[in-house]
Symmetry: C2
Subunit: 349 residues, 2 copies
């Protein structure tokens, strides 16, 4: 990567801000040599943290502001009162062309709403979506929407499919990613009208688009397709169900290793292997929910992440910027030229 | 349990029928001394299996039929051509009062459709639902609907809540079970109109009904509530996502224990503890998806289960029969006397 990229950081967002933001930026700097940062937040708190990090200091411009969006703030309050907040100013840097992307570990709802209002959607995109990378038995896959849109029509789902396709190519480097629509069965007649229409439309796209068909809940972790598309209600619940199940098994596994002296000993012998396994499903590796479909790159880091996780979220923003993510979405929409016709008509034709 | 119960068994349903059906019945017999069976299927295949099991033979009446519903059959074909099938005849035994419940490991869609047509819904119930017991960090919880109804209105969700409540009391013995509505956030304003209306209605029921409010995907495994209610689309995807995630972690765990000699040794030391853990999430323990809201007890065993799993499915049917499950649902609906008014009006009032 020879081009230089500037990333705007909301230094005050997240549980351990600004410390993990500064540390995460320093980690990302080592991975991406041509990166520059604009860090928005309380200079008095950021400066002491950055002082000892000479290399980071050289590539970072601190933009002072007193205002912060708290995690408890409602979206409407955040928008009304947060005009000078570190989050809003970081987003504005992308809008104004001063940064290629923004990363925040702050209030998700506020970030989504502010980014939507300031950056606006890409031409042709009706609704932005939240996407994330998830581990699967076959590697990694992309899932969207994870909660931006509680109700979706067929056209929304088709646009999510296109955005997910571009995201898999751009960020994961997947060649010709396959795409599945999340449903209650893989048979063609399953599911409600919106998903039926979306499938009918995507089926016509064979050649330009690798539509697998319907997938079920267990296909997400199986990695049956590279991209899994659903409405935001179902996607959000599926994502959180995954997290809950992983936590349940972790808990039970802990109990198992504590159940006897022999089991404790077993844990010690198996520790290295188990650590490798933990790394494979490490939520920090999959940190960074991305708002797709906006006229600018915005990545949400998990609020409770550490520097490693935050650096990964920065990495996602850079991958998207470096690979011309938004331009590719626009191209993808054009390739689906008939989209204006709408999936309903496509299904009927 | 002093009363005697007769359970109708579809001896030909499932991957390993009739062998596991006969073995499962024999296991259940030991657990429930007053049980009797009506076994529907191919006598020539059932008899040799049952011959050596003297005690089982004494309490079992074999009802011969040649016809079988295969797992590949569509629902419409099954209904048209399956009138003399082991599945249909077993259901008819419940309808005709010859058995207190029916258990089948066969074609789910066919079983649901046939049971609905033959048994009909309980008075006042608009839509039957599929429920199952799931493991959680706090013990066990009940989840419904798992796929019978792809689209649900507020009144359906309220009825699912009542049925789930009675199921938790009856089958799990939970005192005053708490109930949560699955949603994308726990705040009151989250989610779509149907779920908002259902919540408004259930909130009025404090005193008679322990409504917790909204729960999220990770609350299922956390056991935040004893009952989790959702539409069948979301519930089905959440359930299968759980299964997929568990399989992913099992796979990764296997890799971890195979990753080195030391890890293999660790596995040997920890084996007993790990086995106990596996038992806690053993799908066979949670075998038996139940059709709630029908005028008769119908339990679907997993098609690929073994005798232990099938016996558990029989156990669920007996628990429901012994505790007057359907009568309690009718009582529960009456306690919600205002239900006729409909949740929409309740929300407005």
């Amino acid at each position: 990567m020879s081009a230089s990229f500037t990333i705007a950081l909301d230094a005050m967002g997240g549980d351990n801000a600004p410390a993990i933001v500064v540390k995460g930026a320093d980690l990302a700097r080592r991975r991406f040599p041509n990166i520059r940062f604009r860090m928005f937040g309380d200079e008095a708190r950021i400066l002491p943290l950055i002082k000892r990090r000479k290399r980071l200091r050289e590539i970072t411009e601190i933009m002072h502001t007193d205002d912060v969006i708290s995690s408890e703030m409602t979206v409407s309050v955040a928008i009304r009162k947060g005009r000078q907040s570190s989050m809003q100013l970081a987003i504005n840097a992308v809008r104004d062309g001063d940064a290629e992307g923004v990363v925040s570990a702050g209030n998700t709802g506020a970030l989504m709403a502010m980014a939507k209002l300031s950056l606006r959607t890409l031409p042709g995109i009706h609704r932005p979506a939240i996407a994330a990378i998830l581990p699967s038995i076959r590697g990694e896959s992309v899932m969207l929407d994870l909660g931006a849109n509680v109700e979706c029509d067929a056209e929304n789902l088709v646009q999510f499919a296109i955005m997910g396709d571009v995201f898999a190519r751009t960020v994961l480097g997947t060649v010709n990613p396959s795409c599945g629509l999340l449903n209650v069965g893989s048979e063609e007649m399953k599911g409600h009208a919106e998903i039926q229409q979306a499938a009918a439309y995507l089926r016509q796209m064979t050649g330009t688009f690798n539509f697998h068909g319907f997938v079920e809940g267990d296909d997400i972790a199986a990695g049956t397709t590279d991209v899994v598309v659903s409405d935001g209600f179902t996607g959000n619940i599926a994502l959180k169900t995954t997290e809950g199940t992983a936590r349940l098994i972790k808990e039970f596994l802990g109990d198992a290793f504590r159940s006897s002296l022999s089991a404790r000993l077993g844990y010690i012998f198996a520790r290295r292997g188990l650590r490798k396994m933990r790394d494979r499903i490490d939520p920090r590796r999959y940190n960074g929910a991305v708002f797709l479909g906006l006229n600018g790159i915005a990545v949400k880091s998990h609020g409770g992440t550490d520097a490693f996780g935050f650096a990964n979220a920065i990495g996602v923003a850079i991958d998207m910027a470096a690979n011309g993510f938004n331009q590719k979405i626009t191209d993808g929409l054009e390739a689906f030229g008939e989209l204006d016709q709408g999936p309903a008509e496509a299904a009927a034709s």
